[in-house]
Amino acid sequence: MPEVDASFLALPRHELAEAALQRARDLGATFAEFRLERIRSESIALRDSLLESATDDEDLGLAVRVIHDGTWGFAAGVALTTDEAVQVAEQAVNMAQVARPINAEPIELADEPVYDDVSWVSSYEIDPFSVPRAEKVALLTDYSDRLLKADGVAHVSVHVASVHECKFYANTEGTSYTQQRVRIGPDITAYAVDHDSGRFDSMSSCVPPAGRGWEYLTGTGWNWDDELAQIPGWLAEKMAAPSVEAGTYDVVVDPSNLWLTIHESIGHATELDRALGYEANYAGTSFATTDKLNTLQYGSPVMHVTGDRTAEHGLSTVGYDDEGVAGQQWDLVKDGILVGYQVDRRMAKVNEDLLGTPRSNGCAYADSSGHIPIQRMANVSLQPAEGGPSTEDLIGRVQNGIYIVGDKSWSIDMQRYNFQFTGQRFYKITDGKLDGQLRDVAYQATTTDFWGSMEAVGGPQTYVLGGALNCGKAQPGQSGAVSHGCPSALFRSVRILNTTQEAGR
């Protein structure tokens, strides 16, 4: 089990926190919190098996957030000195004072037990930053070569993003923790170009980003040998596949595609800050408003969706959130009904009666020391059916339909009603059997219609934890990493578009 990096523990974290929190108290803040964050990130990109770029970055800084005269104030700085910590605390108070005239609601926070100098480290085996660059590039070059040397592959792009995040948090209530998280996101795509027709297409690995270390790239948690051997054939079949006939089809959606539909149409829609309008000017609001809690028929009775910050290898998994709240798991949709939201401490306090609990479920997150914590997404996952069917069994229930694998294009409206997704591979289903690939497929639906048409979910043997490293939200923009687990699932009568026809060709 890895431990918190010694070089982070060597930073004067307690000393800086005490200086900042004391200054905030002295200036009249009724609550103050301090974060020291060090985020190491590495990005390696290969183009046609040659190293295109490799960067190694580290962001290190401190932040103070205060409640002063009932108003939030936030400030951040980069120098790790007690002078800077004091100055940043003063700036945060100043910010609260400038903002006071436009604040109409005194800020109060939900209670949370105090955690005194605790420590938490995510589950991984090999810190990506401990592996020599040359060794990493050699492995990725091998993966790239396997594709580039295959028939029909014209180009290959490989990209791997690795992140090592260390955080120290302390607040005036007495909580302090040190936390370390590691995540990695590989991205491998093969391209084919037909010089007769000018048509080109691509086939990407379905590997999801994960809260894992470098071991993920060498076979722990993903079968690279198998997938890399199959990608050229899949791509060739897609290039030769017939274009889909637009219409209404039954579809079986693979977890490699369904995670993104969950992210967009359930994950964001059950963020309470969106339902309350805080994101109305940017990410948008939600159709799942608070007046519908415990009554909205979100989907069919087989739909059970949870939020959690606890799943092993989950990208949103933490020991404690950015307001000092411990990681939890809870229901968002049960038996097809909306039953919960993702919240932070302020929203938990204001909406205590509505939510039926006085505690935050721990969804506060800031993507760096330079940004303010906001409500960010937990791992939002669709639960499989105990003893449920395999993907083949689900396909077997379809007479004329499409099996959708891998994510590609995605879009959804500002209230999370209407969405359109494409994918990596689309297999025609004829009389319960796969019947070759189709191309130019997109599916479009209204959220509650789509989840209402879900006839069956697969069993635990079909469950996969997908996810994204780059979910965007808030102003100024913040990037979040989040996982979504789901089984395969069967949907009846889904609208399928032909994307070539949509382009007017």
């Binding site: 295109e52 939030w72 400030a75 170009v193 940017y282 879009s411 209407n418």
Partner: protein
């Protein structure tokens, strides 16, 4: 740690270059970016978050070897001190030594000490909102009294970039960037409107004027009409044109086109440079000196990619026509990829653009006055690539789609999901207005230096109806 010395940007660069030479690097570029920013965010007629941030980042690019055999190592850090700078430079040199030769290796850009080199970074603070914040507070109270809701964000940042290289280059450039974006909703939340604008210093942003425009638009929505999906005559105001054209701008990668995997590829191999994209006199150009849209006049690359190279840091950027008179003139390239695709010179990306139509005049309101029956959009949202072959984009309309009848806005209609290609739109639009500074709803937070005209598209593809309001 607490006794380490914070270095000035100039000292960081001089020391970094010296350290790299001492470590045996053959070349080195050091980039220092000093940033400060202040923001206010509001929702439901009250402040929600705010912040005042200072940031600093140092990127060291070390090169070893000569000519075609040169390799690069890139290391970036925030909060550099005299002690940590040594480690960063060592890491960059060691990485370069461990790397194979870079495909894009070229001699580092040479030069001399540029104007203002010795100056300190420019900064901003919350004081930029001294007049804006109280006026905003008044509009929030007024909205509450009038049973309307306001939501918005104001951001101001100043970035000062310093670039130094072992080839003698010393450049400094400070740039402010700011914007405001505000959404208004009716008391029952059934209607929504939006306005946005870019600014350099907030002296030209009046919260009362923003509120008045939101009110005008919410007034249009007092009548609502259901319109089906389909191809409709549609007026795209400058903001919506920027939503789509910014995506087109990002597709102008020369290498992707040359390799047959972009909308700007020819079937037989090679790029469509020289092809006509539109029968109309459409121009798309970038120029770091454009009045009001000034941006960094030299290339800055922290990583190499299709159209950028870390070896090109400091390369002078000059006015570039991407599209002239409807014809594709240039695609974006580094020095390396320019050679690869047979372009006469590198054309790196520039952080602004102007789309214009020769001879076009008038405003969005003038296009409305000339339209018998159709739609007027506010902006587009969640725009994503569906098919790079045609540059087919999908996305949604947002915060105000209006019905135009006999030259007048007569009501608000439902939102739509669209599927459209910006390249096709340049060939299909039937009327245009004058080019004006614009602020893209989708991309403006990050890419705000745009100027675009309003366009009338006779057959904009609304693929389905969205219930969002």
């Amino acid at each position: 740690m607490t006794t380490a010395i914070q270095l000035t940007p100039q000292d960081t660069i001089e020391r970094g270059l010296d350290l790299a030479a001492a470590e045996g690097a053959d070349g080195c570029v050091v980039l220092v970016a000093e940033t400060s920013s202040a923001n206010l965010r509001w929702a439901n007629n009250t402040l929600t978050t705010n912040g005042a941030m200072r940031g600093s980042s140092v990127t060291v690019i070390a090169t070893v070897g000569a000519g075609e055999g040169t390799a690069a190592g890139v290391v970036g850090r925030s909060s550099v001190t005299d002690a940590s700078l040594r480690d960063i430079v060592s890491a960059a040199v060691a990485t370069a030594r461990a790397s194979s030769p870079a495909e894009d290796a070229r001699p580092l850009v040479d030069g001399t000490v540029g104007a203002g080199w010795a100056e300190e970074p420019d900064v901003t603070s919350v004081n930029v909102y001294e007049k804006f914040a109280p006026a905003l507070g008044e509009t929030l109270r007024k909205a509450g009294q009038e049973n309307r809701w306001l939501y918005g964000f104001a951001d101001h940042e100043v970035t000062t970039l310093y670039v130094g290289s072992s080839a003698g280059l010393r450049l400094r450039q400070a740039l402010p960037r700011g914007f405001v974006s505000e959404t208004g909703k009716s008391g029952d939340l059934s209607q929504s409107a939006w306005v946005g604008a870019a600014t350099r210093d907030f002296s030209d942003i009046d919260p009362f004027a923003l509120d008045t425009e939101l009110n005008r638009r919410l007034g249009w929505a007092s009548r609502s009409v259901a319109v089906d999906a389909g191809r409709h005559p549609t007026i795209l105001p400058p903001a919506a044109v920027a939503d789509l054209m910014t995506y087109l701008f990002w597709q102008l990668d020369g290498r992707d086109a040359f390799e047959g995997r972009s909308v700007f590829s020819t079937p037989s191999g090679g790029t469509r440079i020289g092809d006509s994209l539109s029968s109309q006199p459409v121009n798309l150009l970038s120029d770091p000196q454009l009045p009001g849209l000034e941006t960094f006049p030299f290339a800055v690359a922290r990583a190499s990619g299709g159209a950028s190279s870390v070896f090109d840091n400091g390369l002078t950027l000059s006015a570039t026509d991407w599209i002239r008179g409807g014809r594709l003139e240039h695609l974006m390239t580094s020095r390396h990829t320019a050679e690869l695709i047979g372009a006469p010179a590198a054309a790196p990306a520039i952080d602004n653009y102007v789309l214009s139509v020769d001879g076009a005049s008038g405003s969005t309101d003038d296009l409305v006055a000339g339209l018998e029956n159709g739609l007027l959009l506010t902006c587009l949202w969640y725009i994503r690539m569906v098919d790079p072959q045609t540059s087919l984009l999908t996305g949604l309309t947002r915060d105000g789609v209006y019905l135009v009848e006999n030259g007048e806005v007569t009501g608000a209609v439902n939102n739509f999901c669209f599927n459209e290609s910006p390249v096709d739109l340049l060939a299909r639009f039937s009327a245009a207005g004058a080019t004006v500074p614009s602020f893209s709803r989708e991309w403006g937070d990050y890419f705000s230096r745009t100027a675009t005209p309003p366009l009338l598209v006779p057959d904009f593809n609304m693929s389905s109806v969205s219930q969002a309001s």
